[in-house]
Structures are given as structure tokens and as C-alpha cells.
Symmetry: C2
Subunit: 419 residues, 2 copies
């Protein structure tokens, strides 16, 4: 089915925010077999929005609009869609109740504007919003589907995952199923060249690679008349990928992240961890506690950004810092050791690097990072040279730190056999 995305919002037209909703919706559509041929963005302007919606309805089967469902006067997506479809807006009792409860729960008072959000086009399917006041709306008119979604990603994403995707899947004659193979430590072009033959032969299942920060994800998507047949098509491809990428694959579960895998392995081996971070400043510990139950394994996270903090809190030797510098193999090693000895954790990850934009030298340019990992009573330090801006370098550091520990835990024979 030809699908079109219309994101509504002056803040996107002005470039104040990047259009992540369009990417998210496009990905979801691709996953369930809806072909997005057009994406567009218009401001909160009734005439231009109406024109865009009319054009979309002429050329596409499904039109998904996001944004402009807020309580202010500027928000007019719902009003415009109703007008284009010649539908009256009527009050939805259920939504009114939900808004009332929402404000009660957050101990605030609704403003008069908020009740505008309880109005819905006559005959529409109302989709509850569990994270905000504006409901989602589905209209089926003359064989076309129009879906209105709230703009804030923290409202849109859960609504799409829990309610819109099942709705769209249900409209689809075929079952579309996919598996996600997640890889760390191999770049996108190398990964692609390792499976070029598979990509070139692909028909059903299809194979697509996605570059993530420090990771490559490979999606294998099959279409079949039922789930069992779709699974059967996917299985041999995933097995082939396992053969080619080996231990670089950290999971084949869609919802599992690298930090999930690391935390799960630590829990399984009954180990606690301590982090000692310099350039990442807490991003590593913050990734670990993304995982439910991480409080069992994270003994403490230490952000030792200054030389003084490295000396005082994790016993890095003054001479080491003087002789080799704060960004060095030697310092990373002492950080990893010191963190374990000072905190009684079983395992540690220590990072020190030059994330830029300043601080680079000829010998140690911006992007130079040392990651130390204390595990099984020994420290391993790896040296990395990342490219990108400050944030990119910090994110790459976090991913590679997690992956270093993951690989060390894999080497552990006992774990490998049990896993």
C-alpha cells in the first residue's frame, strides 16, 4: 500500500528540530510492508496543510500525519483534516475523562484549551494517548486511511508501537516478519561487503543493513501467507549471518540492546561492576542503568574527569599522569584497577580520551580513546581512534567499552558454554 507521511510543524520547517518522527514512522511502515513513497513537512498553516493532505489523498492509500494536535490555537491538524474529509468535530466523552484523569494524576489543572483536545471527527476511531492529552485519530474514508498522531515523540512512539502498528498490520493481507541481527565492532561498509552476495540475491526475505553509532544492524524481512512460513524463510539467512559474523553478533533479538546483553551476562555470572569515566562523563553508567535491574550489578559509577579526581578517588598515580598523560594506556589501566580496588566491585570499565573539539595533539589527535576493562583478575586496555564530533566520539566510546566487556565475558569458558 502506498503510504505518505506528513509531519506538521513550524519548528521543523525552521530547522529547530530534526524530523525524527518521519524516520521512526518510515521505519515502522517499512517493517510491516507499507511502502512510503512520499514524506513532506508543512507548517501550522491551514491552507497549505489542506492542500498537502488533498495531494496525498490523491496519490496514496494511507496518509499518516503527525503533529499539530496540541491545545493551542496554532494546532489545527485535526480541524483541517476534518474539513478536508467533510466531517464535523464532536466531543468524545472517553477522551474528556482521560484528559481529566491525566491532569489529576500529574497534580495540575487543565486549561480551557485542553478541552479542545477531546473533540474528534465524527465516525473516527479514537486512539488513547497514554502519555499525553491529545488522542490519536484514525479515519477510513473512500478506501483511504488517514491517521493523525501527536507530535511529541514520547507520545507518538508508544502509541504507534502499541496501537497503530497492530491496526495497520491487520489491514495487510500478508504476514510480514523480520529478524534483527545486531553487530558490534565491524564498520558498515565492511559488514556490507561481507554479505554483498546475500544482498544481491535478496528477494524474499530482503536484507537491509543499518548503520548505528558503533554498531551495524541487519534486518531480515520475510513476507508469507502465515507466521510459520515467514519464520521458515528467515531462519536460514540468520544462520548464514551467524556463520559469517560470529561473536561480533551480540544479539538477534529486536528489542535487546548492547547494555541489556552486558547487564544480563554480569547478572548471570553474579558480578558487580564499577565504571570510571573521564571523557564520557557518566554516559556509560547512564547506559547501564537503562536496563531494569541494573541496580544489582552497578556498584557505583564514578566520573573522574579531572586529573585530581583520578588521583584522589581511584588512586591513579601522579607520576603516571605526568609521564604518560591522562589519555594513555597506563592511565586507563590504573583507572580500571583503582576503580575495582576502591569500590570492591568485581569488574570495571574505565575510559579516558580526547573527545574534542580541543585538546588534540599530533601524537594524540581528537578521537584518541583508551578503554580499560578489569575482569577475571586482569586488566585489558584497548586503544581506539574515533572520528566525528564530541558527542559522536563519546557515544562511540561508550559502545566500544560495553563491547570490550562483552567480548571478555564471552572468552570466559564457563559463560560461553552456558549461554
Amino acid at each position: 500500500m502506498i503510504t505518505e507521511l506528513i509531519t506538521v510543524g513550524t519548528e521543523i520547517l525552521l530547522g529547530n528540530i530534526v524530523n525524527t518522527n518521519a524516520q521512526f514512522l518510515a521505519q515502522k511502515c517499512a517493517l510491516i510492508g507499507y511502502s512510503v513513497f512520499y514524506q513532506s513537512t508543512v507548517g501550522d498553516n491551514e491552507e497549505r496543510l489542506a492542500d498537502q493532505l488533498k495531494t496525498a489523498l490523491r496519490r496514496s492509500d494511507v496518509v499518516i500525519l503527525s503533529g499539530g494536535l496540541g491545545p493551542t490555537e496554532d494546532d489545527l491538524t485535526k480541524e483541517t483534516a476534518a474539513k478536508v474529509c467533510k466531517k464535523k468535530l464532536i466531543e468524545d466523552e472517553n477522551t474528556k475523562k482521560r484528559i481529566k484523569n491525566y491532569f489529576a494524576r500529574t497534580k495540575r489543572k487543565p486549561s480551557d484549551n485542553n478541552w479542545k483536545q477531546a473533540l474528534v471527527p465524527e465516525g473516527a476511531i479514537v486512539v488513547d494517548n497514554d502519555n499525553g492529552t491529545a488522542p490519536g485519530i484514525i479515519m477510513e474514508i473512500d478506501g483511504k486511511t488517514i491517521i493523525l498522531l501527536p507530535g511529541p515523540p514520547n507520545e507518538l512512539i508508544p502509541m504507534v508501537n502499541s496501537k497503530i502498528v497492530p491496526y495497520l498490520k491487520n489491514k495487510m493481507p500478508n504476514t510480514i516478519l523480520s529478524a534483527m541481527v545486531k553487530i558490534c565492532g565491524i564498520g558498515e561498509s565492511k559488514a556490507e561487503s561481507m554479505i554483498r552476495d546475500l544482498i544481491d540475491q535478496q528477494t524474499n526475505p530482503t536484507i537491509a543493513t543499518y548503520a548505528k553509532t558503533g554498531e551495524v544492524h541487519i534486518r531480515v524481512t520475510a513476507s508469507a501467507s502465515n507466521e510459520k512460513d515467514a519464520k521458515k524463510k528467515i531462519k536460514p539467512i540468520v544462520e548464514e549471518l551467524r556463520k559469517r559474523f560470529g561473536d561480533a553478533i551480540y544479539t538477534v533479538k529486536e528489542e535487546e540492546t548492547l547494555e541489556h546483553v552486558v547487564v544480563r551476562k554480569l547478572q548471570k555470572q553474579g558480578l558487580t561492576i564499577c565504571t570510571a569515566e573521564s571523557c564520557t562523563g557518566g554516559m556509560l553508567s547512564s547506559r547501564l542503568i537503562n536496563v531494569p535491574g541494573a541496580s544489582d550489578i552497578l556498584k557505583i559509577g564514578l566520573v573522574t574527569y579531572s586529573n585530581r579526581a583520578k588521583r584522589k578517588f581511584i588512586d591513579v598515580n601522579r607520576d603516571t599522569l605526568k609521564k604518560y598523560g591522562a589519555v594513555s594506556k597506563e592511565t586507563a589501566k590504573e583507572m580500571a584497577k583503582g576503580a575495582v580496588f576502591k569500590t570492591d566491585a568485581d569488574v570495571s570499565l574505565a575510559v579516558t580520551g580526547i573527545a574534542g573539539p580541543d585538546g588534540g595533539t599530533k601524537e594524540k589527535p581528537v578521537g584518541t580513546v583508551f578503554i580499560g576493562c578489569y575482569y577475571n583478575e586482569s586488566v585489558v586496555v584497548e586503544e581506539f581512534h574515533f572520528t566525528g564530533d564530541r558527542n559522536k566520539i563519546r557515544e562511540l566510546t561508550v559502545v566500544n567499552a560495553l563491547d570490550l566487556l562483552r567480548r571478555r565475558m564471552l572468552e570466559n569458558h564457563e559463560e560461553k558454554n552456558n549461554d
Copy 2:
């Protein structure tokens, strides 16, 4: 001038990459007074691209296309644009030389396909690409401007900054200038309602509000025949905003972030800080070290996620945890105090909360957060009730922690007079 952006690429339609080019181009256009009314994305498909370009030329003065200038057969933006404008493609000698040199410099050989990139529409302005082979192209036809840009951001961004922006500025009769007023601690709808009259009256300068996580930014943009006059138009509006929002404004500098302001104030007062984080897991310390020079002020960052870590590393009383719970005013207070006493920092920020998705209770639902701030020898604890997903709650916690410390530093008489 009404401006339209068309990004070309199947990888965007499939959601494989997020459309950062559109954001970048939109920002640049807004800054120099080109009004982007439409953005759209189409795949590498001649028919749909031609349709989109024709529509754009009907309704806009300037159309900027990015992507599809590569050497492969799929790349057909230039060919399509030439066809729509009824122009022949002719070889550009200069570009041919440049491509030859480019390959010589990178020690590779051009493929036959690459020479396709030396073809340009007759009469077009050719814009050299300093970071790749595909040149940019500007066509002026019937009072409309069509600009073709290469898709890779590392080619597009420098080309736009050094060549396209000056070209567009030169076409513009007026000077456009803007100021950014950044506010913390007031929600978007409240902020808007506080300046509804100003927004309703706006013509020149224009006033627009943008909701950021935990913040509201207000952009004031003036158009005038010269910079001095534009500044004169902006000044009284910024003064009026200062009157209305008072101390909630943390900066009026475009490039300054909340963490910049906090770090600068700490530096000015000669104070060091220690963070003690539970639910944010290091996000607060990581925000602080975004600021160059933060190593002077961040004594250490502590991530005390488990009860045990709170007891062991920052002396939170076992009875306090038992009686009031880890997420409580009392625990936040002891965390803030303990962090200062254990680390000899002058100031501390301590956060403890329920970021969800689990862990909420009727008395303390998900989103309940306590932020403690030790400053000037006393602890203040504030209670918050945030909504959103886990990450949103954590980000809101970080912003409000920084803002709590900022406001406390403002109260300090000496600082206020000097600032």
C-alpha cells in the same frame, strides 16, 4: 522568498537515516530570511521527482534539492531537473579537471560512471565541491532559483556554508537578524499565554516559541535594511520578555546552554561541585562536562543507583532509606549532604526518582523525582512530578537539577549584583 526543500533518497523514505540535511538547510534558510514553507522527500524515481519539482516551482521562489547527484544509475536528480527545465546537459571542463585531481589526491582511479558527474545543465552556475566529486548546481530560470546539492552531509554542509549561503544572502534585499531568549522552569503553554498579546501583535520582529525538554526558547527575528536597524527592532522586545519572565530567563545568547550558564557561574564564584545521581545514572555529570573547562569545577560525579551505594559511598542513613524510601525528600537531602562531605566539594546536586516504566506506587507514581542541592551551607530539596517515558523523565530531571542550582546561585546577592 518562499523556499522549498526536496531531499531525494530511498534511504530516507525507508527510515534508514534521519533527514539531518533538511534540518540543516532549514536552519540556514531561516537565519538568512528565506521562508521554508514546504519540505519533502521522494525516492530516486524520475517520475515522482519530476512531479515534486514541478509542484515546487509552481508554489515557491527557491527550490533546493539535495541528494541523487552520485555517479550511479540510480542517481538522477540532475538529469530530472534538467529535463523539467528543458535544458541540455553539457560537459563542464572545469569539473572534469577537478574530478581528475580529486582521484589523484585520494590515490584512487575514477570509474567510467564518475565522468557523468562532470555533466551540468546548460547555462547553470557550477559550484565546486571541495569534499567530493559531484558539483553543486544553481539554475536561474523564469525568476525561480533551483539549487542542486550533493547528499552526503560532509559535502553538503561546507558547500552550503561557503558558497550557497553567500549566494542566497546576495539575492536578499533585507538583513535578517534574530535573538534567542531561553527560559527554564515554565511550560510552553504557560510561557505562550504570558506573551499571547506580543505574539498576536507580531509583524516585524516576529516572535516564535519552541518547546525543548524542560525549556522554552523564544526567537525574536527582525528584518531591516541594515544590521543596526534590525538590532534596534529586536531590543525592545527582548527587554519586554525580560520584564515578563525575569529570572526564568537563563540566557539570551543563541549558543549558550543551561549547563554553560551553570558552569560559568560556578567558575565565577570559585566553587567546585559533586553530583550524586540515582535515576539519571550519570546524565547530569555528562551534561556538565559538555562545557569546556568543566574539569575545574566537577570534583567528581557519583552514580549511586542502588541503596547500598547510597549508604556506602555518600553516607545515606540505613534508617532513612527504610523509613522514607530511596525516592524521598529525606534521602535526597542526605545524598546532597553526604556527597559534599565525602568529596570536599563546595556544592552538590543529588537526584533520586522513579523514571519508570516500573517502580511507581500510588503515593509515588512514575515521574516522582526529588532534587537536592547543597549550596552556601544549606540543602534545598525540591519535589517534581514529570510525565513521559523513562528517558524523558531522566532528561527533565537533569534540566531541573541544573536550573535549581542556577536559581540558588542567583539568589546569592553578591553574584546577582556582579552578573
